[in-house]
């Protein structure tokens, strides 16, 4: 029980820092899990990082992995809940006041004006992912097929993504 409380407290703090920007998460987790509490070796930590990138959830799923190591399934559950608690609460607060804030003239027009930047960031994410994972003709071919399917058919994207996963397993 005491161990679970420790896990809860540690991950709550990490979750709060996470709100400031996910980029510090990996060095921070490494420091806490490997150096401070010695729940994982560096090797295990890096393997956990690879594991969490396999899954659809945010990188913070590393919390599940390290929580599992620190306290089994309850540890994994507690770590996952507490690392995401701050950002979920904050997003709920944002959602609650969003409609009201939008009606204030100056805020509404500012929000409306920054949308192109959001679009730019979405495009940038595609670029960054492309740089790191498009290495050969095969990948570009899959990209082209995917683009065409998403753009001109009504197939639900989930089916296309799962299909692509199967293709990936078969050709590699």
């Amino acid at each position: 029980m005491a161990a679970l409380l420790t896990i809860a407290w540690i991950y709550l703090r990490i979750g709060l820092i996470f709100v400031g920007g996910g980029y510090v998460l990996i060095p921070l987790l490494n420091h806490i899990m490997v150096e401070q509490y010695r729940w994982l070796t560096l090797r295990q930590f890096l393997d956990g990082l690879a594991l969490s990138q396999l899954t659809p959830g945010p990188l913070a799923m590393l919390a599940t992995f390290t929580g599992f190591r620190a306290g089994g399934i309850p540890g994994a559950l507690v770590a996952t809940i507490f690392i995401f608690l701050p950002c979920v609460v904050l997003m709920l607060i944002v959602g609650r006041y969003y409609d009201r804030l939008k009606k204030i003239d100056i805020i509404g027009s500012t929000l409306g004006g920054l949308l192109p930047a959001v679009v730019g960031l979405v495009a940038a994410a595609a670029w960054n992912l492309g740089v790191s994972s498009l290495s050969g003709v095969k990948e570009f071919l899959i990209l082209a097929v995917g683009f065409a399917l998403f753009k001109w058919t009504k197939i639900t994207p989930m089916v296309v993504i799962l299909g692509a996963g199967l293709v990936g397993l078969l050709i590699n």
């Binding site: 913070a60 100056i106 730019g120 397993l169």
Partner: protein
Amino acid sequence: MSNGAQKVRLSEIFLTFTMIGLTGFGGGMAIVALVERVCVREKGWISSEEFLHGLAFGQILGPFSLNVCTFTGHHLRGIRGGIVAAVGFILPSFLLITLLSWIYFTYQKLPQLQAALKGTNPVVIGLIVVVAIDMGRKQIKGWGGALMAVAAFCASVFLTLNAAWVLLGAALWSLCSSYFRRRIG
């Protein structure tokens, strides 16, 4: 929710986000693109503009893939909707990671699933590009907007600037330009 539209059932919200959580390989923006396709395009649960606002807030507040789910869920059914969406989205990854962790710590081996990513990553890039094009068509109006989009893209790709900073800069830009427009007009 506020416009008196028909209430979406919590169970439908849960199932939708569980499906997104199950298939959103690629993380981050891949999930955002998927949520956009499903919730804005297919189901019409939230307008494109509101969704992008949620994404802007979400990027400032950390793990934006989860934040976008929470925001959309809240938009539909208030606090309960937000929590249901967040839990539904996280659940598949949680179960998968717990299972993989157990395998890893028992057998000291990573399952060979990386190959699947070689197929999903390119397709996910296609999805993000399609979503970016659609969003751009709707939201980028005039030269000012186009310039801002290109500037945000470059700041992120070439200067590797944190999204939160990019958005803060864009907000300032937008604030100033609407202020001046008002002074002139």
